[in-house]
């Protein structure tokens, strides 16, 4: 059930916070095979349901990615490195925001180790599975977040996005997820990947739900509505670069937005630019653990962190300057268009036993541009290929998160892709 609907039912007295939490705890247990959760706060959540403060999310059961601190619960980052870490002593700023709005935190969601990859395939905690086909990846790094939103294992949740980690699982799991403007959401209490790219953001059933969650975690965010239809540009080289069936599905969706073709080939530089800053920052953030627990990392994450240590020092300022240069190139597009759109991912979810060798390289051109520029980007479901969901990203100017969410909400008022649920999961009675 959606955040908006549960909140409304609780306000109307049709459902109690305890009943809502109990219902979700049953669903989490029934779908434990998806491995969406790393830890479930069953007793704490039930107790908190009985004393939830009034607020816009009063009694709404939510969850957070397991790189975000919840007081009294271990933050593992899905890594053996932190598997025995002591419980967090205080809530992350975003968790405090959710609780202040009345939400109940059900537990901590699975992810790619240290949020540094796009598969959610932790060797230590096991892979999270895609509710549309459990043999397939749910993407990442916020893969547990995508799976939990798709399988209705929480009303909504928080993920994090450095280079696509909210948008990728949103697309592959058929849910809605927002990477907010960089700096809009406080990162206090988050295990970092990369300080200049990281942002916490919401995933849920709809843009409306994401907006409700964002209000709780971003003190300065106010949803606004205008009557003007946004001018939308469709980034043509990304449509052409995607798998043909995925590209055709997104192109059909862009017609709903009256999008005009846009040439933005310059964005192709973003993948390299992002790595010049992200990898050294990640290496710096992990230095103490690299020195003492190197063998506890998964091979893929260890390789990326060591790569960050080995780049020449000139690479970092080149990356910073290139981000400014990239924005100089893209700014004119945002004078002509309010929203740019493209496929969120070039493919549907691959099978866990057949991940393409170039998976990460192939998806970066679709996600790095908006990360490099710090722009708000929301992925919305826009169709299916071979029974698997396809996502379309809507990107706006910095600080115009409300406009991006409103454009997404308009699309969802005109379509019902976001209402589709995976068959095996929808067969289970919901709250």
């Amino acid at each position: 059930m959606s955040v908006a609907r549960i909140a409304a039912q609780i306000r109307a007295g049709e459902l109690s916070p305890r009943e809502a939490v109990e219902s979700y705890l049953e669903r989490i247990e029934a779908h434990s095979d998806l491995n969406a959760y790393i830890s479930v706060r069953a007793e704490e959540a039930l107790a908190e349901a009985d004393s939830a403060p009034p607020g816009p999310l009063h009694g709404v059961p939510v969850a957070v990615k397991d790189v975000i601190d919840v007081a009294g619960t271990r933050t593992t980052a899905a890594s053996k490195v932190l598997a025995d870490a002591p419980p967090a002593t205080r809530d992350a700023a975003t968790v405090a925001g959710l609780k202040a709005a009345g939400a109940i935190v059900l537990g901590k969601l699975n992810l790619h180790e240290f949020a540094f990859g796009a598969l959610t395939s932790s060797a230590y905690f096991g892979p999270a599975r895609n509710p549309w086909d459990p043999a397939r990846t749910c993407g990442g790094s916020s893969g547990g977040s995508g799976a939990a939103a798709a399988a209705d294992l929480c009303a909504g949740n928080l993920g994090t996005d450095t280079g696509g980690s909210i948008r990728i699982p949103s697309a592959l799991c058929g849910v809605t997820g927002l990477r907010p403007t960089i700096g809009l959401v406080p990162n206090h209490g988050l295990i970092p990947v990369s300080w200049t790219f990281d942002t916490i953001g919401p995933l849920g059933r709809s843009a409306e739900d994401c907006s409700l969650l964002l209000e709780a975690i971003a003190p300065s965010f106010r949803p606004t509505k205008t009557g003007d239809r946004p001018r939308v540009g469709s980034v043509t080289h990304l449509l052409q670069k995607a798998d043909p069936a995925v590209g055709a599905t997104v192109e059909a969706a862009t017609r709903e937005l009256n999008a005009r073709p846009v040439d933005a080939q310059v964005l192709e530089h973003a993948s390299v630019i992002q790595q010049l800053n992200m990898l050294p920052e990640a290496a710096a953030a992990h230095l103490p653990w690299l020195r003492t627990k190197l063998a506890d990392y998964g091979a893929d994450v260890r390789a990326r962190l060591l790569a960050g240590l080995s780049l020449p020092v000139t690479a970092y300022p080149t990356g910073l300057r290139a981000r400014r240069w990239l924005w100089d190139q893209v700014r004119p597009l945002f004078e002509r268009y309010d929203i740019l759109t493209a496929p969120t991912m070039p493919m549907v979810a691959p099978r866990l036993d057949a991940i393409p060798a170039d998976y990460r390289l192939v998806l970066m051109p679709f996600n790095s541009p908006w990360s490099c520029l710090g722009l708000p980007a929301v992925s919305v479901p826009c169709g299916f290929v071979d029974g698997l969901p396809v996502g379309m990203v809507l990107v706006g100017r910095r600080g115009e998160d409300a406009a991006v969410l409103q454009a997404a909400q308009r699309f969802q008022e005109a379509t019902d892709w976001h209402e589709r649920r995976p068959e095996p999961v929808s067969a289970v009675p919901s709250a």
Binding site: L294, L306, A307, L309, R321, A322, R324, W325, G374
Partner: protein
């Protein structure tokens, strides 16, 4: 530049000086990455005008 800055011995020394003891397999992966990205960095250095600032 790639071959000189990404020899295994160089990469190992760089890691050890930072207190890290990587395996050869890790360093092979790093070398492969550097061999790919360093030419792209060189291209980027030429592309971005000198007067470009870092604030975005």
């Amino acid at each position: 530049m790639p071959s000189e800055s990404s020899s295994l011995d160089f990469l190992r020394e760089l890691a050890v000086r930072q207190g890290i003891q990587p395996e050869d397999a890790d360093l092979e992966g790093v070398r492969g990455f550097l061999d790919t990205i360093l030419p792209a960095v060189a291209e980027l250095e030429l592309l971005v005008p000198k007067e470009t600032e870092t604030e975005i």
